[in-house]
């Protein structure tokens, strides 16, 4: 339904061109959930905004690639046609529920605005629909709540309202950009649960962007791992989590705190910083931080290659070599003592 082919989104800054998204391809079908993970600055948000053509142009431009939504290339549509798609066919849920609602408009007005923008309806019909939506996202006493202002809602409630607004026109694709980052863990679970339920009810395709691997594991069927504007590994959740084939993904997973770890164990981190996207390192973008890096890595920029059906990774190490290297590092860590310095 939504297909992205070799999409490039560059940012033209006074200091040079930043390759924020550099040749990304993936596709999503109805009812499917794709998770996109990566650290800050890996191009997740620019990618998400590209899908809705919401990046400010200039400075962002798209030198290559296409975003096909039901056969139409969004990169070539006019603003007017895009507006028909935004909110109607593709909707978005934002990271920060505290600032995503207009403080001077009532909840009901904002919901009805989203409904009336795309549907020819009378006000009372829109009102009816707004009440339905609020019920759908689990807000008690929706009739009364329509007349409330955003400041009368808690963060979790606001995120529910935002999801209701996003669902206002039954979109085919829902992009959730870090939907739970600003919420505490219990509310987080409720919101994720809600999104799953909505997906089952309406068959919406969900693209969930997060740096929280737990959220991804819970929600997504397929996972894309992004690093410095590229997809470095993609596959099903199980494959990504249990048959990791790319050192970056492995390092990410290893840096997660574990519930069964010793009390004094230090958390592992990935050394160094994400690369400067203005002049990325030679060869593989990850090699300066990669624990497995060899001389070869400084020269060769690995392509995304298939490891098994639907599972691809961008690394020059073969599966066997990677397994061996992992073991070497793990034993080294153990030798250095339980401390994992």
């Amino acid at each position: 339904m939504l297909e992205i082919n070799n999409l490039k989104a560059y940012i033209d800054t006074p200091d040079g061109i930043v390759k924020a998204v550099d040749g990304v391809s993936f596709s999503i079908k109805a009812g499917e959930t794709i998770g996109i993970v990566g650290e800050s600055g890996s191009g997740k948000s620019v990618l998400a905004h590209s899908l809705m053509q919401l990046n400010p142009k200039p400075p962002v431009f798209y030198p290559q690639g296409e975003i096909l939504f039901e056969g139409k290339n969004l990169l070539q549509l006019k603003e007017k046609e895009l507006r028909k798609i935004r909110g109607n066919e593709i909707a978005m849920v934002y990271q920060d529920p505290m600032s995503s609602l207009n403080p001077v408009l009532k909840i009901g007005d904002q919901l009805m605005e989203a409904i009336l923008t795309h549907n020819p309806m009378t006000k009372s019909e829109a009102r009816q629909r707004a009440i339905e939506l609020l019920t759908d996202v689990g807000i008690p006493d929706p009739k009364k709540r329509l007349n409330a202002y955003p400041h009368q809602f808690s963060g979790g409630m606001r995120q529910r309202v935002l999801i209701a607004i996003a669902l206002a026109c039954n979109p085919k694709v829902l992009i959730a950009d870090e939907p739970t980052t600003a919420l505490d863990v219990t509310i987080q679970a409720q919101i994720l649960e809600l999104m799953k339920r909505i997906q089952e009810k309406y068959g919406t395709a969900i693209i969930i962007i997060s740096h929280d691997l737990g959220v991804i594991a819970q929600m997504a069927e397929k996972v894309l791992v992004m690093y410095s504007g590229r997809i470095v590994e993609k596959g099903n959740v199980e494959e990504i989590f249990y048959q990791t084939a790319m050192p970056y993904t492995w390092s990410l997973l290893r840096s997660l705190p574990r519930i069964d770890s010793e009390a004094h164990e230090r958390l592992l981190s990935i050394e160094g910083q994400p690369p400067n996207l203005m002049n990325p390192p030679s060869g593989c973008n990850f090699h300066p931080r990669c624990p497995f890096a060899t001389e070869q890595c400084k020269l060769v920029d690995p392509e995304l290659t298939e490891r098994s059906a639907d599972h691809a990774a961008a690394c020059i190490l073969s599966e066997a070599e990677f397994e061996e290297a992992k073991k070497r590092i793990e034993t080294k860590d153990q030798e250095r003592g339980q401390g994992h310095d």
Binding site: L54, I85, A91, M92, P103, L105, E113, A114
Partner: protein, 285 residues
Amino acid sequence: MLSRKRNLIPFVFLILLFVATITAEWWLPVSPSVMDSGLRLMAPSSENWFGTDHFGRDLFGQTIVAARVSLLVGFTVALLSTVLGTITGLLAGYYKRLDSIIMRIIDGMLAFPSLLLALALVAALGGSVTNIIIALTFSFWPVITRVVRSSVLQVKTIQYVEAAKTSGVKDPVILARYILPNILSPIIVQGTFIFARSILAEAALSFLGVGVEPSIPTWGNMLQESQIYITLAPWFSIFPGIFIVMTVLALNLLGDGLRDAFDPYAKGKKKARKRLFKQKKQYAS
């Protein structure tokens, strides 16, 4: 906002002045336009509270009636320049392309001192109430444009604006329902200050002889006529002067009060200071 005394007094003063000047014909004991050569330049008395001018006309009545033009000019200029400034400011702040065009024009206009610009315009257009309003509007709206533009730039980056765009809301609707209501407070505050400044500017222009026709009583015209009698009949200058000061002061205080009322931090600070003061007292005793 009006619950505080500091805000209530200027508000009441302005309302009283407005009502008094509108209804002047009905209640003034002495008509301000009747000349009496026997009563020229009389000092304030129980009959003529503010004294009389060089034609023997009652100065109290004149001062009250003169408020009409001042308030009319002040209010109209404030309204027009606020509306114009809001529109241009919204466009400049929201559309990057228009920004550089509009703001360069505004910068050019701001390069002139506003009174000088108004003076030149009135000199070119000719002195009348309408022309003064046009000239002052022209010299004050760049101020509003700047304020509005900077507020728009701030509000525009807040996520609800982007969220509205994401749900396909059209630009005019975003400007009117998502941006404008959230920047109203600085606009209103600035509008009040423009009100005060244009009353002052109108008086200055009339005083300089390029303002309203001399036949219409305004505070500026009165000051101008009184110049040569200042040693002989100081009350002729003092009373219109006091009215200008009081009106402008009242408007500025009102503007300050509005700003405090709109700014949650200012309020919080004051309360916090009071609380601190109380605590200190408690500990001292």
